[in-house]
């Protein structure tokens, strides 16, 4: 054992002077004997190594190519319709493609309804997911945590159509008192202002709550995973300083899991932005433009495209919907990019 503890670790003295941010905790584990093996493998790549490398870079390229191809396909189909559009594509609230010779379509309301419902869902789901993840990983005893986590995971297995039915048949009437209160007493705030629907059921508000339930499991699962991996030795560091349970979480668990929580939330947001059938069932169509209220109705990108799917026979009207799809495509990319920036480029920072 004497040998083990004093055995030379040649890397460390060099590190002693370097302030490089990347020379993090790993300085301690880096000296794994396993490293030598990998280096040798790189010097003289064997047959298996070459095949494996070809396979992995090949499939990587394939994914990139597939995404580029989808983007290109959408663009090629959308451009003729965009050129034939008589309304302003970005600012018009109408989406009228009944007459191929006189197309009038814009995405203003699609964007508003999509973003409002998804962000509202996110605002509802994020704190609840955080609470559940903390409870499951930090507070609950194992025999409670397991079944509880299982039930949350089950929520993800429920088909969208069921959420839609539940949303409109059960949730919408149940939410009516809350919605009425918000509109009547907090209506001065634009989000709770009276909307463009004659009723308070089947609004963006209702749809957002349904979406929140739908994205809760994914956010919870990712967050729970990163929290449960918070390193034991950082938790002990906090405990040994005399931190209470909550202080331990604040010092050792939250900083570690923060970026994973954000990444999970962005995954959830992506799911909400693209959700189709549940939204189509729950949120009612409106006849006047949206006023940015949660009590508005209307279509999201996904629900509009789905509602029109049976009419995709003529190229120009179809192209209009594809143009809308393209915007959704870009939107999810932007959400992903933001997630990466916020998460600092790594999931477990």
């Amino acid at each position: 054992m004497t040998e083990r503890t004093t055995a030379a670790r040649p890397r460390d003295p060099q590190d002693e002077g370097s302030a490089a941010g990347s020379a993090t905790l790993d300085t301690v584990t880096d000296t794994d004997p396993g490293r030598g093996g990998t280096d040798r493998g790189k010097a003289t790549p064997g047959r298996g190594e070459r095949i494996f490398r070809g396979l992995t870079s090949g499939s990587g390229l394939l994914v990139v190519a597939a995404i580029a191809a989808i983007g290109l396909f959408l663009l090629v189909q959308a451009v003729p319709s965009l050129l034939a559009d008589n309304a302003n594509f970005l600012t018009s609230p109408v989406f009228d493609t009944r007459d191929p010779a006189n197309l009038n379509f814009g995405i203003r309301d699609l964007l508003v309804v999509t973003l409002l419902s998804s962000l509202f869902a996110l605002v509802l789901a994020m704190p609840i997911a955080l609470g559940i993840a903390l409870f499951l990983t930090q507070y609950a005893p194992k025999r409670v945590a397991r079944p509880f986590a299982y039930v949350i995971d089950l929520l993800a297995a429920v088909p969208s159509i069921i959420y839609g039915l539940w949303g409109i048949a059960v949730l919408a009437p149940a939410l009516l008192p809350i919605a009425t209160f918000l509109r009547d007493d907090l209506g001065w705030f634009f989000l709770f202002a009276p909307g463009n629907l004659p009723v308070l059921t089947g609004t963006i508000f209702t749809g957002g709550v349904v979406l929140a339930v739908m994205i809760l499991p994914i956010i919870t699962a990712v967050t729970r995973e990163v929290f449960s991996q918070a390193p034991r030795f950082h938790i002990e560091a906090a405990q040994a300083l005399g931190a209470t349970r909550w202080e331990v979480i604040r010092m050792a668990v939250l900083p570690y899991g923060r970026s994973g929580y954000i990444a999970g939330s962005m995954l959830g947001l992506g799911r909400a932005l693209g959700e189709t059938i549940a939204v189509l069932i729950v949120i009612r169509a409106a006849t006047t433009p949206s006023g940015f209220s949660l009590f508005d109705g209307g279509y999201t990108f996904a629900s509009l495209i789905a509602s029109a799917a049976s009419e995709f026979s003529q190229p120009l009207p179809t192209g209009a919907y594809i143009a809308a799809g393209l915007v959704l495509f870009v939107l999810t990319f932007v959400v992903n990019a933001i997630a990466r920036v916020v998460a600092g480029g790594k999931v477990n920072g």
Partner: protein, 258 residues
């Protein structure tokens, strides 16, 4: 400030597993006591009962008395969190909080105790870093994350963090086993300085280290796997390494040195 530690008939359990049995020992203030013995004999387990970290493991339990200047830290009126605020601990693997700055790492314990005065925190940060022989190396980057230091520097940062609250006792569990020889020497020197002010208990696998840094050495042993570990003897370090009372100690020490 440095306090005396007495263990009386301490038995330690992990659930049904009796890990260590009947430990009796005393540690005087401003001295260094080292725990040596083969792997798995319960050195870390005993150390972790001294600041009530042991009970964080589900099912873990301690019998007997651990007295800090005569007061039982396991008394019903004693609170584990409060106990840990007055007994510092340094771990085998350096564990600064990676996202906190060097300065915030050092004063993390003080902040937990409610100290908010920035001037006071800055003073303590400097004094503790000086005390841990790290000040010169980090004084220009106190706001950089603690994770950016080398292993040896991180361990000294952890020591600075532990002494920032002026603990009654400082516990160290193989603090050098993840470090290179130069950093190890730096920490051993530091222990020599710290004992002027603190009561120190250190677990080490390295017998030369025990001989170099400690005033008193406790030898733990295991009769057989599955049996509880035992304190074989505790005596002045010089005595243990030259002329131990027990044959088992003699065997262990000569085996390792030979």
């Amino acid at each position: 400030m440095a306090k005396r530690l007495d263990l009386k008939a301490v038995d330690i359990f992990y659930g049904d597993f009796h890990a260590v049995s009947d430990v009796n020992l005393s540690v005087s203030p401003r001295s260094v006591t080292s725990f040596i013995g083969p792997s798995g004999c319960g050195k870390s387990t005993v150390l972790r009962t001294l600041n009530r970290m042991h009970e964080e493991i589900p099912g873990a339990r301690v019998d007997g008395e651990v007295l800090l200047d005569g007061e039982d830290i396991y008394a019903r009126s004693a609170d584990a969190v409060a106990v840990r605020r007055t007994i510092g601990m340094v771990f085998q693997r350096p564990n600064p909080f990676p996202t906190m700055s060097i300065r915030d790492n050092v004063v993390a314990g003080l902040k937990l105790q409610g100290v908010r005065d920035k001037k006071k925190l800055d003073e303590v940060a400097e004094a503790s870093l000086r005390g841990a022989n790290l000040w010169k190396e980090v004084k220009d980057r106190l706001d950089k994350p603690g994770g950016g230091l080398s292993g040896g520097q991180q361990q000294r940062l952890c020591i600075a963090r532990a002494i920032a609250v002026q603990p009654d006792v400082l516990l160290m569990d193989e603090p050098c086993s993840a470090l290179d020889p130069i950093s190890t020497l730096a920490i051993e020197d530091l222990i020599g300085d710290l004992k002027k002010e603190y009561t120190i208990v250190i677990v080490t696998h390295n017998m030369q280290q025990a001989a170099r840094v400690s005033d008193q050495t406790a030898f733990f042993n295991l009769e057989a796997t599955g049996k509880p570990g035992k304190l074989v003897e505790i005596d002045d370090t010089e005595k243990i390494f030259s002329n131990p009372h027990e044959q088992a100690t003699e065997d262990y020490i000569s085996g390792r040195f030979g």
